[in-house]
Structures are given as C-alpha cells and as structure tokens.
Amino acid sequence: MTDHVLTYMTFFPLAGMVVVLLLPRERHDLVRWASALFTLPPLLLAVWLYRNFDPVNPGLQFVEKAAWIPAYNINYFVAVDGISISMVLLTALLTFLCIFASWGIDKGVKGYFALFLLLDTGMMGVFVALDFFLFYIFWEVMLLPMYFLIGIWGGPRREYAAIKFFLYTLFGSVLMLLAILALYFSSEPHTFDMTQLIAQSSRYGTTPLHFWPFDHLRWGFQHVVWMALFIGFAIKIPAFPFHTWLPDAHVEAPTAISVILAGILLKMGAYGILRINYPMLPEATADLAYYFLGALGTWNIIYGALCAMAQKDFKKLVAYSSVSHMGYVMLGMASFTPQGISGAVLQMFNHGTITGMLFLLVGVIYDRAHHRDIDGFGGLAAVMPVYTGVSVLAFFASMGLPGLSGFISEVLVLLGAWQKYPLLSALGASGVILTAGYLLWTIQRVYLGATNEKYKAMPEINGRELFTLVPLGIIVIILGVYPNALLDLLRASLDQLNQLVIPHLS
C-alpha cells in the first residue's frame, strides 16, 4: 500500500469515474455519494502522506518508477518533494470539498461528476509526475474536462469563456510541447526523466543564437526553451498580459469549478516554473527571472488589485483578486531567498484555501439570489450572521491580516523580495493597501448597511455549505498561528532548489 500511495491518490478518482459512468443516470444522489466516496481515499492518504513526509530530506520521496514506453525511454515515474507536497495536499482537500460544493448541480449530474473525477486525476497527476511525457499527458488530461465543465455547466456566456480558456491554454501547451521535445533531443541518452534532465542541465547551451531577435537579446538555446515553457506556465498563473481568460472562466464556471480553477489550476503555472524552469534551466532562470519575473509579479499585484476594485460582479472581483495574489507568488519566486521562495509556495497553498473560501461564499449567495451583483445585496449580516462571520474571516485572510495564513506568505514574499529588489517589494507592499480597499468596500456593500428588502428572508448558510467552508477556515487560522505546520515540509527542497540557481545570478 505505502509503496504506491501516490498512484492510488492519482487513480482513485479515475476508478471513480468508471464507477460513476456505470451508475444509472437518474440516481443523482448515488452518483454524488459515489463521487465523494472516491475522493475521500486520496484525502485520507494525503493526511497519511503529511504525517509520514520526511521534512529533512530535500530529495524525492515515495518514489514509484516503472518502464512504460521503453522505446522512447518513457517511464511511469511519480514522487513528491517539498515543491509538490503542499500542492498534492491541497488538491486532495479541495477536490473532496468541491464534490460537496457541487451538490446543487442537477443537470447532467452523471456527466458532471464523471468529468470532475477525470479532472481530479489529471490535476493530481501533474503534481506527482516526474517524467516529462507523463507530466504532459496529465496536463492535457486536465484540460479537456475543464473545457466541458465550463462549457456545459457554466453561466450564460459559458461557450465564449470555455473556448477562450481552451485556446489560451492550448497555446501554452503547444509551446510547452515544443520545449519538452527540445529538451528531449538535447539530452543524451534522450530522456523524459526530469531528474535526468536536471542532472544534464549544463548541456542546454547558453551561447547566444545567431539569428534575430535572439542575437539582440543575447539568448541562447536555454533561454528560448525557458521562455517557451514560461509562456505556457504564465498563462496558467495567470501573469499579465495572459490573464484575461481567468475572469471570464471564473464568472461562467459553476462554483466548485471556480474553486478548482483558482485553487489548483492556477498553481500549476507557478509549480511548473519551480519544477521545470528553475532546476532544468538554471542559467536562463538567473538571466530571465531575475528582476523580470519579480517586476511582472509586482505588476500583477497592483494591476489585479486595481481591476478588482472596478468590478461590479462579485465573482469577477474574486477572480481579479486571484490575479493580484498570484503576483506575490511570482515576486517571491524571483527573490531567490529562502524566505521569498518558501513564501511563494506557501502563498500558493494559502491562496488555494482562501480564494477557495471566497468562491464558495459567493456561490452560497448566488444559489439563493441568482445574481452576483455586488451592489444588489446589502445588509446580509443581519439576515445571515453565521455566513457573514465566515465571510469576514475569508476576506480578512485574503487581505493578509496578521494572525491568518495569508499574512505569513505575503510577508515572507515581501521580506524575501526586499533583499534583491527593495523597490519592487515596496510597490508590492503598497498592493496591500489597495487590497484592503476593494475587499472592505465589498464587505460594506454586500454584508453591511441596511438590509435589502428583497433578501430579508434569505435562508442562513446550511450545514453542507458550512462543511465545505469550515475546514478551510480552520487551516487558514492554524497556518497563521503556526505556519511551520507547512513550512517545515517545504523548506529543505526549496533551499536546495534555490542553491541550483543562485550560483548563476550575476
């Protein structure tokens, strides 16, 4: 059992999909409970993994490797380390909770849950795969169900949103595929094994290429590959200017899918950069990520916050807040300090829990009022005190209130960034003021003030909805008070990763 823990975690949902497909179409509750049943074991295994993960060991753990397509040196190779462990835990947690957040889906229930479970396998696979080919397969596997989940179960403009999402991501995937092949053919013997590719990182040339525009930029092979991968990942993060798919996709997607999208899919971009760009292309990372990535992150922080401020749609506001919060991840990664990089990975996790909460909270009132117009509510605190209490917790966590998890990751990122780029760090810190601005303004308009007559009888948040929110809320508080609960797992691997790049920083 323990030898195959990651495989079980990845493929349990796939087995669930098969089972769900075999269930009778009209037995909605059976389909829902079966889906919950098949996402529970990965969650339990995640708890086991958390307890058995060796925080001192910076290398890969729970490794599983088997030949798959020997002719091309392709292996089934999965493992976790400090870079991926937090994402694996987050994926297991959010997918389980999102099954319950999907309870209200009543159109094409069977198809929805089948696709959801397939998505789960794809996501988990991306985070555990250490064979590039396998990674790419999972990456694409995840894309397709997402397209249908937005395109079929989404809001009124779902088709536009789904196609936009698909095209953006596909564009990135193509670049990534080219980069993968470039690395494959540069390695000797040709391999997709990420650990091998990292070991051979000195083979990927950095001498400037002799044709336009790379000779002007003084880019070598390594830089071109880096940029191809980076654009693929930047779309997922999403980094400016590749972010406009996100608000549309979020607004149209059903609640649970928004949670998955923000909570997990966005993390894949940042994860990919840390897993692939940093160790495989360290020299290009030192050349290209230094300053550029930090500046891009800072721009994301401020630009996302400003755009969020101008939104009238509650969900769009949360979507833009994601753009802003993912900026901290980029800024932290670019700092190459132990604080910054750990802060970035912690921020990835915290953003998953906090923004997950925010989307679930928007879903709660959307299900009741059937609109998301921020100005269309008002005074909900008097009608739904419990709901308001949970909302305020999530809002203040998102604002980075000290004592809650968001603060720890943001302050680590900004602290780490200060050493390399004090100006960017200061600009990023000013984003915290804007964040307080738009979030407090939203709290005021939705929850405070005189109660809107239309919603005098709005039913209080129910047990199922609380069940999806409370675990996340507890994690938000625990990680704020005792961040070492997660930081301990990340530290060793991330320090090692940092050490690969730092020698190349000029």
Binding site: H243, A310, Q339, G379, A429, L434, L440, L448, T451, P483
Partner: protein, 680 residues
C-alpha cells in the same frame, strides 16, 4: 547578553482576553439569548481583570529585581524560521511594557465594566464584548511582543478591532464608511511599518546578524551606522518608515483623518481604543525603539515637527467643533502630537508619562461624554446641551477634574506630564525655543476648547427640548464608578513623575533601564520654574477667554468667528477641507486607475485575444471560400464539363442506324485518305 528570566504566566496576560473573545464570539449569541447578558459580561470582564492582576504580579516581580535586570520573558514557540530569519512567539515585560500592560488592562478593565451599563440595551451585546476582548488581546500582544513581526500582529489586530467597533452599528453606512476609512488609512501606515521591519532585518543581516527581536536589534544597532540605501542612511530611512506607521496608528499628520470619524463607534470604544490605548501604540513603538531613533537626528526632527504641527492643527480645529465627541477626538490628536513632540526631542520618558496620564483623563472625558450622551438619549450636539451639572452630578464632577487635568491646571496629572514635555522641548539637545513656544500656544488653545466644552455642556440653561429634559438622569453605578476611579487617576497619576524642581521623578527612574537617563538639561531649575509659570499663565488665559465667552457670555463668539471675513472660522470648522482634498486626490485617483486597468483588459488585451480569434475565424472562412469556389470549383468544373461533354456526346447517340452508318462510312473514308496521304 544577560539571560532573561523565563516567566510562564506572561502569556496568560495576553491570552486570557483572547479566550474571552473566542468564548463570546462563538457562544455569546446563544448565551445571551438563553442565559442572559450577565454571563456574557462575566466572560468578558473576568479575563481582563485577571490579566490586570497578572500584570500587577509582573510589575511587582520587576520591582523586586535590580533596575538593570528588570525584564521577564516568556518564549512560547518558534513561529517562523527561514534562512537567517528566526522569529519566536515570545512575550516580554520590562519597565516600559509593564507601564503599558497596566494601562491597558487597568483602564481597559474599567472601560469593560462601564460598558456593561452603557451597552445594556444593545442587541449585539455579545459581539461588542467579543471585539472589546479581542482588542485587549491585540493591544497586549502589541506591547508585550518581543519582536517587531509579532508586534505587527498586534498592530494590525488592534486596527481590525477598531474597524469592527467603529462600524459596530453596521446598519448605517455612516458608521461602516468610518470603519473602512480607519482601516485603510491605517494600512498606509502599516505599509511604512512593514518596510521599516524589512529594512532593519536585511541591514542587520548584511552584518551577519539578521533579526527582528528588540533586544537583539538593540545589541547590534550600532552596526547600522554608516550603512546607506538609495543615498539615505539606513537608520534614518528605517525610522522614517516606522514613523509613517506611527502616524497612521497614532493619528498624526498626514494620516490623522480617520480618528475624528472613528467617533461613530460606541463611546466606551472611543475611550478605550481611540483615546487611551490603541492610538498611543505609535508612541510606544518609538519609545521601544528609542535607541534607533536616537541614532537618526533627521528622523527626530521630523517626529518633533510633525508632533507639534499636529498638536496645533488639531487644537485649532477643536476650537470650533460642536459635537461633544469630535472636540475630544481632535483634542486626542492634539495630545498625541505632544507625545510625539516629546519623542522627537528624545525625551521618550516624558512621552510615555504623558501617554499614561492622558489615558486617565481622556478616558474619563470620553466616558463622561458617554454618560452625557446616554442621559441625552443619544444627542451629541453641544449646542443642545447645557446646565447638565444639576442632573448629572457625578458625571459633572469627574468631567471637571479631567478637564482641569487636560488643561494643565497645576498639581493635576496633565500639568506634570505636559510641563515635562514643554520643558524637554525647550531644554533637550534636540529641542528649541520654537518647539516650546508652539507647544505653549497649543496648551493655551487646549485650555480654551476644553473649558468651552465644560461650560457649554454643564453650565447655563439647558437647551435640549422638553422631552429630553424630562428624561435626564444620572448613569448607573456601574458607569459612574469607573468615572470616579479615572478622575482620581487624573490627579494622582501625575505625582509619580514630579518635575525636577519639586522632587524625585519616580517615573523616569522606573523607565531608565529601557529609555536611558534623562538628558542633562541645559537650563537651570530657575529657568524651568519660569517657563512653567509662563505656560500656566497661557493656559489660564485660555480658561479666562472661555469663561468670558461661554460662562459669563460677556463676549460673543461671533466676535471671533467673523475675523478675516469668517475665513479662519470656516477653515477650522471644516477641518481645513483636508478630507475633501484626500477624497479628491487619493480616492478618486485610485478609482480612475482602476477604471483604466479594466479598460486595458477589455479594449486592449481582449481586443487582441478576440481579434486573433476572429482573424483565425476569418482566415478559415476565406479558406472555406477557397475550398468551395477554387479547389472545389475546379473539381466541380471538371465534373461539370465531363457531364456537359457527356450530355453533348449523348446527343450523338440518336439510335438512328442510318446516321451511325453515315458516321462510320465518313470515318472510314477519312481514315483511308489519311492513311494514303501520310503513311505511304
């Protein structure tokens, strides 16, 4: 470095109020409904009282030690540990934080008790106490944290509670707007605070001693001398950043604008948070880091200038306000200005002394005004009050004592602490006679506007309507008792810090291990006495003017308000239009940027995205046309011509044997001719 004494109970000083907050926050609503408000009050007040007792224990524990060994610590656990950054959750109490925890739990405890009476009617009684307890927790964390980052938790935590309590009656957007304003303006300050922390940490790290713990910063601070960033000394810049944080929390220029609006909260909140404790956090922070500020003369100059400017600006606004709480709010800003003036001339002990005495008399004034508002059925306009001394005797007497104290009447607490500040402003190496003179001018105005308030509220004829007058009543004992205690403190608290010419300054001695010995004054006792007499004279003049205008009615206020065509009066009454200017520049400016951002997303980025999608669609449409009309056209043309040919040839097949035979015959003839002509 000496080994501090591990004292496990310190954590409970901080955590007890948190337990109270958690209890009432989670269960309060049910308790209040099922059992009654008394249980909520019990769970709210008891933790603060116990915290106070533990604080006393810590105080006596310190007293038992030799002065230079006076500190206790309680390290709880390692909070963050990454690279060279090591931060503990650890509390410490030294003479400075001992003063603060006594003020916070002592005055805080009194205000908790007062609130039992004041908030009795409120539906959300439990929520009020949950936040009041949470505030006490955050404030205690702020003053007992052993490092800057932990202090920052308390720093923002008190801001959160302030926000929640200003907007306590959230159904009215006037209150929620004031709460938002307080939080966001404070965030601007916090931005400076956090950058100051970063700068200190990394500058020390560069010397191999990266730390955020106060005692270690103190040890290694000298290493920062001479370091520069962006052409400015690191210490100067770091202290300026920190001071920006202080101007937010302690309502100084340019970030004072939130405090007057904060009066929207329940009055005991104004007393506790917006007068006695939270707003003094900035002063405490500077005193805590006094060794850094003393290394940065430029920063000190800024601190002193901002302090005295704020003291004067707020005093001039307070002269004309008509809302009983707004006068007190501007007076608070002004008094905080005095504390910064003291800190700016490196007289940190004087700043903390005034902080403490101010906590007594300003809490007394606010609670007194609360008692008045309570009696008046919520009325806050002083123009509708008057003659209340008869129906509210306890409130009247305690309020009067506090007014005497804040006006600097000799032998009251305010006299000693303010005099100390003025003397230091004059005699400290960082001081000047200008600072002193401006400070004295502010003191004169203080006496004027406070006595104006006293006369307007308690003397003369009652100007309230009939209905209100009938219901005038003194507040219950649970409210008047704290007033009496605070009034006693408004007198007695000053006697522990007597000026040099009167006797030993116990307070300065107590703080000496933390703040260092007071500066050698460059004046004599005679000079101190002369200046003291002068400033008392100015305050007496302020009193006399208020007496003439508002008590004797011998002078019409219009006499002054019409000066310079009423311009001065309008400027003061409208607070110099600073709110309007900020609104226009910062709020509108930010919203404009926000709209620009959205515009870029919609009309530039999505234009490109949708445009490339449309271009692709167009290309494939053209491609389709090409397929349909060119390629398929050729194919179809071929097919068509085959058909047409077939059609034409079909006509050849007429079925007429004769024509067939003629054709065959013709063909044979042609063949023969060809054969004969060309192949022979």
């Amino acid at each position: 470095m000496e080994h501090p004494i591990q004292t496990d109970y310190l954590r409970w000083i901080v955590l007890l109020p948190l337990l109270g907050a958690g209890w009432n926050g989670l269960l309060g609503a049910q308790l209040q409904k099922r059992v009654g408000k008394w249980l909520v009050s019990l769970f709210a007040c008891a933790p603060v009282v116990f915290s106070f007792l533990l604080s006393l224990a810590a105080f006596f524990g310190l007293l038992a030690l030799k002065p230079e060994e006076r500190f206790l610590t309680d390290r709880v656990y390692a909070w963050l540990s990454l690279g060279s950054l090591h931060v503990d959750v650890a509390f410490w109490v030294d003479p400075l934080s001992a003063v603060m925890i006594l003020v916070v739990t002592g005055i805080g405890g009194l205000i908790h008790i007062y609130s039992i009476g004041y908030m009795h009617e409120d539906r959300s009684y439990w929520r009020y106490f949950a936040f009041l307890n949470l505030f006490t927790f955050a404030m205690l964390l702020l003053v007992t944290a052993d490092n800057l980052l932990l202090m920052f938790i308390g720093w923002e935590g008190v801001g959160l509670c302030s926000y929640a309590l200003i907007g306590f009656w959230y159904q009215d957007h006037v209150n929620t707007r004031a709460g938002n304003k307080a939080f966001i303006v404070n965030r601007v300050g916090d931005f400076g605070f956090i950058l100051g922390i970063f700068l200190i940490f990394w500058s020390l790290d560069q010397q191999g001693h990266g730390t955020v713990a106060f005692r270690e910063i103190a040890t290694f601070a000298s290493l920062l001398q001479g370091q520069e960033i962006w052409g400015i000394g690191v210490v100067t810049l770091a202290t300026l950043f920190l001071f920006l944080g202080a101007t937010g929390k302690s309502a100084q220029i340019p970030l004072y604008v939130w405090l007057p609006d904060a009066m929207q909260g329940p009055t005991p909140v104004s007393a506790l948070i917006h007068a006695a404790t939270m707003v003094t956090a900035g002063v405490y922070m500077i005193a805590r880091l006094n060794f850094l500020f003393s290394m940065a003369p430029v920063t000190l100059e800024v601190v002193a200038s901002v302090g005295v400017a704020t003291a004067l600006l707020a005093a001039t606004i307070a002269l004309t306000q008509t809302d009983i709480k707004r006068v007190l709010a501007y007076s608070t800003i002004s008094q905080l200005g005095y504390m910064f003036l003291a800190a700016g001339v490196a007289a940190y002990g004087a700043a903390i002394f005034h902080l403490m005495t101010h906590a007594f008399f300003k809490a007394c004034l606010f609670l007194g005004s609360g008692s008045v508002i309570h009696a008046m059925g919520g009325e806050q306009d002083m123009r509708k009050m008057g003659g209340l001394s008869r129906s509210l005797p306890w409130t009247f007497w305690t309020f009067t004592i506090a007014v005497l104290a804040i006006a600097g009447t000799p032998l009251t607490a305010g006299f000693f602490s303010k005099d100390e500040i003025l003397w230091q402003a004059f005699s400290s190496p960082h001081g000047s006679s200008w600072l002193w003179l401006l400070g004295v001018a502010g003191a004169g105005m203080t006496a004027f506007y406070m006595f104006r308030q006293l006369f307007l509220v308690f003397f003369g004829e009652c100007r309230a309507d009939h209905h209100v007058q009938e219901h005038l009543h003194e507040s219950p004992k649970v409210m008047t008792l704290p007033l009496v205690v605070l009034a006693v403190g408004s007198i007695a608290a000053g006697w522990i810090g007597l000026p040099g010419i009167f006797g030993p300054n116990l307070f300065a001695q107590w703080l000496e291990p933390v703040l260092g010995a007071a500066h050698e004054a460059h004046g004599s006792g005679a000079a101190e006495g002369t200046l003291m007499v002068f400033s008392v004279g100015v305050a007496a003049f302020g009193f006399y003017l208020a007496y003439l205008i508002y008590y004797r009615r011998a002078l019409a206020p219009e006499h002054f308000s019409s000066l310079a065509g009423g311009l001065l009066y309008r400027l003061s009454y409208n607070k110099y239009y600073i709110d309007e200017i900020y609104q226009f520049v910062f709020i509108r400016g930010t919203l404009l940027l926000a709209r620009i951002g959205v515009w870029i997303d919609q009309y530039i980025i999505d234009f490109i995205v949708d445009g490339s999608a449309r271009t692709t669609a167009l290309v494939s449409w053209v491609n389709g046309l090409f397929d349909n009309y060119v390629i398929d056209g050729i194919v179809n043309q071929l097919a068509d011509s085959t058909f047409a040919a077939g059609d034409k040839f079909r006509k050849v097949q007429t079925g007429n044997i004769n024509s067939y035979l003629y054709v065959i015959l013709g063909a044979v003839i042609v063949a023969i001719i060809v054969k004969l002509r060309y192949w022979s």
